[in-house]
C-alpha cells in the first residue's frame, strides 16, 4: 500500500468522533500543561498512563500525541509572558520573546510563535509521513548488534553530549539503568534487586520515576528553595502581526524547520541544539535595524526561528520512536512506555503489524496542528489566565494528579512511598545540576538494550567481535566515538590556538 493511501486510511480512523475528541482533549490538556509552570508533557503523559489499561490504543496514542505537541505550543506562552522559561525547549524563545513582551510586543511574539509552530509542525509531519516508512523498511535489516549500538548512541548523546557535565550525565544515565534492572530479567526470568518485595518483581513503574523526578521534585524544590522567589509577568498586548512582522517571520520559520527536523530524526535527542542553532542563524542573517533588536528590544526572528525549530524537532522525534523504538527525549521515552503497556514494541515491524494505529497517529498530527493553531491564536488570552493560579494551590493540585498516576498503575500504596522517595532524589539532582532526562531514557531503554546486547553476543557465540564484523555496527561504533571525541578534540584545538592548557574537566586554563 502506498504512503498516500495509508495516510488517507489514517485520516479515516483519526476523524472518527471519538478519536477527534481524544485529539482535542489532548491538545487542550497539552496547551494547559505547556502554559502551567512546574508540569511538562512528560509528566502529564506519565500521570495519565493508567488510562492505557482501559482506553483503546489508537485513541490513547492520539491523546498522548496531542499532549506532547500541545505542550510545545503552550510552552511559548509562558516563556514569552513570564520571566522564567519553563523548559529547555523554550529557553531560546524566552530570550527574545521576553524582550519583545517587555517592549510592548507580546502579541506579535505569541503570534509568530503559534503560527511558526503550526508551519514547522505541519512540514515536519510531512517529513514523518514520507520518511518514517522508508526508515522502517531500512530498519528491518538491522540485527541485535546494530540495535544495541543505536541505543548506546542514544545513551551517549543524551548523557555525555547534551548536559553540562559528562560525569553527571553518565551518573544520571547509570542511575536510570540501575532502576531498569529492578525486577524480572527479560531473558532468564531471574529476579534482580527486588529485595523480596513482591511489588518490585514487575520492576519500577516508569510513571513513578517520571512523576517523582519531575512533578514531586518540582513541588518539593519550590517549597525548599523557591518560596520567596518573586516572579513578574509581562503585559499582554493584541495578538496580531504587521506586514513587516510577516516578512521577517516567514523565512525564519522555514529555515528553522529545516534546521530542526533533521535533529529529531537522529537518536541524539534534545531541542537545545536546533533551537540555539536557529537563533544563531537568525542573528547572523539579520541586518541593520533588525539586527540591533536582538538582545535589546527583542527581534521577531529570534522567536519565530527557535520556536519553529523546536516544533520541527519534537515532531520528527517520532521517526526514531516509531521506526526504531528509540526514544530521544523524556516524553518520547514515556510514549514508548505507553506502547509497552499495550504489549507493543515500536520498531520497524510496527508499520506492518500495527499499520492502522501508526497512520491514524500520523494523521492526528495534522489534525492536532490545526486544532492547536485555533486554540493558541484566538484563545491565547484564555490560556494566559492560567498563569494567575497561585503556585501553592497549583503545586498541591499537581500532587493529586501525581497520586492518580502512581496509584492507578498498580493499585499499590507502596508506590506512593516510592514516589515520595524518587521526588527527594529529584530535588538532589536538580540542586546539584544532574540532568534528569538520562534517568528516564536509561530506565526505559536499559532493559531493551540489555536484551539486544545479550542476543548480539549469543549470535557472536559469546564473542564481542560480532560488533566489529558488520559494516553497519562498525559505522555506529565510529559515530559513537566521534560523538564522544570530537567535542573534546575541538576544545583541545581551541585551547592550543589560544596558547592555554586544557583542564581535565574540559575547561581551559590560560
Amino acid at each position: 500500500m502506498d504512503i498516500f493511501a495509508s495516510l488517507l486510511q489514517g485520516f479515516a480512523t483519526a476523524i472518527s468522533p471519538v478519536n477527534l475528541l481524544w485529539a482535542f482533549v489532548g491538545c487542550v490538556l497539552g496547551t494547559a500543561v505547556g502554559v502551567l509552570p512546574g508540569i511538562g508533557p512528560a509528566v502529564a503523559v506519565a500521570m495519565l498512563l493508567p488510562i492505557t489499561a482501559k482506553v483503546d490504543i489508537t485513541a490513547s496514542m492520539i491523546f498522548f500525541a496531542g499532549i506532547y505537541y500541545g505542550a510545545m505550543y503552550g510552552g511559548s506562552t509562558t516563556s514569552i509572558l513570564l520571566n522564567t522559561p519553563g523548559e529547555t525547549a523554550s529557553m531560546v524563545t524566552a530570550m527574545e520573546g521576553n524582550k519583545m513582551a517587555k517592549s510592548g510586543r507580546a502579541g506579535q511574539a505569541l503570534a509568530t510563535a503559534a503560527i511558526g509552530s503550526f508551519v514547522a509542525g505541519t512540514i515536519a509531519t510531512v517529513f514523518v509521513t514520507l520518511f518514517a516508512p522508508t526508515v522502517a523498511e531500512f530498519a528491518v535489516k538491522l540485527g541485535p548488534p546494530e540495535y544495541f549500538l543505536l541505543m548506546a548512541l542514544a545513551f551517549t548523546t543524551v548523557s555525555a553530549v547534551l548536559g553540562q557535565s559528562t560525569l553527571r550525565g553518565m551518573t544520571s544515565l547509570f542511575l536510570g539503568l540501575a532502576l531498569g534492572l529492578v525486577g524480572m530479567d527479560q531473558i532468564s526470568g531471574q529476579a534482580r534487586y527486588t529485595g523480596g518485595v513482591p511489588e518490585l518483581l514487575d520492576g519500577v513503574e516508569i510513571v513513578l520515576v517520571a512523576v517523582g523526578l519531575f512533578a514531586v521534585a518540582e513541588v518539593l524544590y519550590f517549597a525548599l528553595y523557591e518560596g520567596k522567589t518573586v516572579e513578574t509577568q509581562n503585559t499582554m498586548s493584541r495578538v496580531y502581526m504587521s506586514k513587516r512582522d510577516w516578512a521577517r517571520s516567514v523565512p525564519a520559520w522555514f529555515r528553522a524547520t529545516f534546521i530542526g527536523a533533521p535533529f529529531g530524526c537522529i537518536p541524539a535527542g534534545g531541542t537545545e541544539i536546533p533551537t540555539f542553532l536557529s537563533y544563531a542563524v537568525e542573528k547572523k542573517l539579520a541586518k541593520g535595524k533588525d539586527k540591533e533588536e536582538f538582545g535589546t528590544s527583542g527581534a521577531i526572528e529570534g522567536v519565530a526561528g527557535p520556536e519553529a525549530a523546536n516544533n520541527a524537532t519534537v515532531t520528527t522525534a517520532l521517526i526514531p520512536l516509531l521506526t526504531l523504538g528509540i526514544p530521544t527525549s523524556n516524553t518520547t521515552a514515556i510514549l514508548l512506555g505507553a506502547f509497552q503497556n499495550y504489549g507493543i514494541q515500536p520498531g520497524p515491524q510496527l508499520f506492518t503489524t500495527s499499520a492502522s494505529l501508526v497512520w491514524a497517529l500520523i494523521a492526528s498530527l495534522y489534525i492536532g496542528n490545526v486544532m492547536l493553531l485555533i486554540l493558541n491564536l484566538p484563545l491565547v488570552k484564555v490560556w494566559v489566565q492560567l498563569l494567575k493560579i497561585p503556585k501553592p494551590q497549583l503545586y498541591a493540585g499537581i500532587l493529586i494528579f501525581a497520586t492518580v498516576g502512581a496509584y492507578g498503575m498498580r493499585q499499590s500504596a507502596f508506590d506512593l512511598v516510592l514516589l515520595w522517595a524518587i521526588g527527594l532524589v529529584g530535588v538532589v539532582m536538580r540542586r546539584f545540576d544532574f540532568p534528569t532526562a538520562p534517568v528516564v531514557v536509561g530506565m526505559i531503554l536499559g532493559p531493551l538494550a540489555e536484551a539486544q546486547l545479550r542476543n548480539a553476543v549469543s549470535i557472536g557465540e559469546g564473542s564481542a567481535r560480532v560488533f566489529f564484523e558488520r559494516p553497519m555496527s562498525l559505522a555506529l561504533i565510529a559515530v559513537i566515538v566521534a560523538v564522544l571525541a570530537l567535542p573534546r578534540l575541538y576544545r583541545f584545538v581551541q585551547a592550543r590556538r589560544q596558547g592555554g592548557t586544557m583542564l581535565p574537566h574540559g575547561g581551559v586554563e590560560p
Binding site: 493508567p50 488510562i51 482501559k54 482506553v55 553540562q164 557535565s165 560525569l167 553527571r168 553518565m170 551518573t171 547509570f174 542511575l175 540501575a178 534492572l181 531473558i187 532468564s188 531471574q190 534482580r192 513541588v219 518539593l220 519550590f222 517549597a223 525548599l224 528553595y225 523557591e226 518560596g227 520567596k228 522567589t229 501553592p392 503545586y395 498541591a396 500532587l399 493529586i400 494528579f401 497520586t403 492518580v404 496509584y407 492507578g408 493499585q411 500504596a413 507502596f414 506512593l416 512511598v417 514516589l419 521526588g423 530535588v427 540542586r431 546539584f432 536499559g446 540489555e450 545479550r454 542476543n455 553476543v457 549469543s458 559469546g462 564473542s463 583542564l503 574537566h505 574540559g506 575547561g507
Partner: protein
C-alpha cells in the same frame, strides 16, 4: 540568589552515588551468571552498572574535593533550604500513602493537598494557619480530588480506592 552548593554537600552526593554503586555490586553477587549460549548472563549488566556508578561516585567526590563540580549551572532559588516546607509536603504524601486504602482517594488526596498547600503557603511567607484559610484549602482539596476520582473511576474505569464501595466517595 544563585549560589553553588557547598563542597561538603557535593562530596556527600558523590559518596551516595559511590555507595549506590557498591550496593548494586553487593546485590549482583547473588544474581546467577549462567549465560547459556551467549557470553552475557543476567548478572552482566548489574556488574557493569555497579562498577560505572562506583567509578562515577569516586570521580564526583574527587571533583568536589578539588574545587567543586565542574561546568555547573548555579541552582535556582535561595542559598539555604526551608526545611519545614519539605516536611509539610512529605507529611502529606506519606499520610496519603498510609491512609489511601483506608479512607479512600478523595479524603486521602484532600488531606495530602491540605498539608502540601500549608507547606507551600508558609514557604511563600503567607499566613496559613488562620481557620478561614484552612477551611478554604480543605474545601479546594476535596473539590479537586472528587471530580478527579469520578473522572478516572467512572469514565476511564481506573481502579482507585474509595471510602465506600459505591464508587462515588
Amino acid at each position: 540568589m544563585n549560589q553553588q552548593p557547598s563542597l561538603r554537600s557535593e562530596a556527600l552526593v558523590g559518596a551516595a552515588v559511590a555507595l549506590t554503586g557498591l550496593g548494586l555490586g553487593f546485590g549482583a553477587i547473588s544474581i546467577p551468571g549462567d549465560a547459556g549460549y551467549g557470553g552475557a548472563g543476567p548478572n552482566f549488566l548489574p556488574w557493569v552498572v555497579a562498577a560505572v556508578l562506583t567509578g562515577c561516585g569516586i570521580l564526583i567526590v574527587r571533583e568536589a574535593l578539588s574545587g567543586g563540580f565542574r561546568d555547573m549551572e548555579p541552582p535556582s532559588g535561595a542559598e539555604g533550604g526551608w526545611w519545614p516546607g519539605l516536611l509539610w509536603i512529605s507529611a502529606g504524601l506519606l499520610l496519603n500513602a498510609a491512609l489511601i486504602t483506608k479512607i479512600g482517594f478523595i479524603l486521602g488526596c484532600g488531606l495530602c493537598y491540605l498539608l502540601a498547600v500549608q507547606g507551600l503557603r508558609r514557604a511563600q511567607g503567607q499566613r496559613a494557619s488562620a481557620p478561614r484559610v484552612l477551611a478554604t484549602d480543605l474545601f479546594s482539596g476535596l473539590a479537586i480530588s472528587a471530580p478527579v476520582y469520578w473522572t478516572f473511576t467512572k469514565f476511564l474505569a481506573i481502579n482507585l480506592p474509595g471510602l465506600t464501595g459505591s464508587g462515588w466517595i
